[in-house]
Symmetry: C2
DNA sequence: ACAGGATGTCTAGCGTTGCTAGGATGTGGT
DNA sequence: ACCACATCCTAGCAACGCTAGACATCCTGT
């Protein structure tokens, strides 16, 4: 009873991740509008209803992909911050890394920030990876700075705006570097 | 022949606008996910296919709403800029106005900046109202400043980020004023 | 060892979506 | 008066997210 149900549990967890990966890969290959429950089911080689035995619905699948994405983002930003030579350059390094992430993985970024998800932001039940990503920005400012959370919000929002407007072609794709440079220079003076 | 076909032309143009207004009102009342071609057709008291005799598809209707929105935004920003007591305060006034617009008319703002549309940004065929909105930001900076277009892009992107992240609950709704204040103070030094 | 029950999976289908083909209706020009 | 044309609607297609209910499979208790 125990060994068998444990194996089933493992298989179930494995399949859970398989669905998430398949959704992300399909989105990265053909965009989120191509991610339908039918195609996703076909891809994981199960029928549609099994998706619903793992997730409450399509939005929940997108949310799971997004949550995964936040873990990756947090790790990516953390690495960039710690690789920065001096604390003064941390903000610039993290900001560049953030934009790289958004540019290199547009579909993943969309799941995290544009598509409707059931993720709770900025509240008590905020998932750890979300908070961790945000904290990478916070930690770029002096610990004694009372308004570092505010600074982090603004820099994050600004980077998000730059990322999303250029992704949707609303500002030219080139010149990103110049924009970040200017932005960071202006913000950094408050560090 | 001529008078009659002219009248028909007028009626057609009127119905064209009616569809756009109905789409916007429906979206503002119940959100864009409630704007289906069926409900929209019912609202304008025609059958579905007439929508397609006016627009290439649903995206084209959204685009038309968005274009209308840009005209309104340009006017709104222009008024705010010219009402500013001194040129130094223009940027702050326009930025505040921008965020007000986004906050007060979330559905319209979504059509302009989030939903997929066929509008061409930052190119030769960019519709006038789009360029006009953008120029309101550009004109907040000194005419002799070579990088004023860059400044405008960054401030616009930052405001967009603030607007959209707070609309989707990714940053707290309150504290908007503080964020804009901080942002403008930092950017304005480049004026 | 075998019936009974629980678990897991699939087929089939519901209601809704964006969009369109083809017929009915009615007006305008000759 | 009649034909031609333009306008509009009914009906339906394929694809969507999601679910009910049948079927099969495996574990458990006697």
């Amino acid at each position: 009873m125990s060994a068998i149900s444990e194996r089933r549990e493992r298989e179930r967890a494995h399949r859970h991740q398989l669905i998430i990966s398949a959704a992300r890969e399909l989105a990265e290959a053909e965009g989120w509008e191509a991610v339908t429950t039918r195609r996703l089911a076909e891809r994981v080689e199960y029928s549609q209803p099994v998706l619903y035995s793992h997730f409450d619905g399509k939005d929940a699948i997108v949310s799971a992909v997004a949550l995964d994405g936040f873990s990756q983002l947090a790790a990516y930003l953390s690495h960039a911050r710690q690789a920065a030579p001096e604390p003064e350059h941390a903000l610039r390094a993290v900001s560049r890394a953030y934009l790289e992430f958004a540019t290199d993985r547009p579909a993943l970024y969309q799941a995290m920030f544009i598509l409707p998800t059931d993720l709770k932001f900025a509240s008590a039940e905020t998932p750890v990876p979300l908070r961790a990503s945000f904290d990478e920005f916070v930690n770029c400012f002096r610990p004694d700075s009372e308004r570092r959370e505010l600074f982090a919000e603004v820099i994050w929002a600004a980077l998000h705006g730059i990322a999303v407007l250029s992704q949707s072609g609303r500002i030219p794709a080139d010149g990103q570097e110049e924009r970040v440079d200017f932005l960071i220079t202006q913000i950094a003076s408050a560090r």
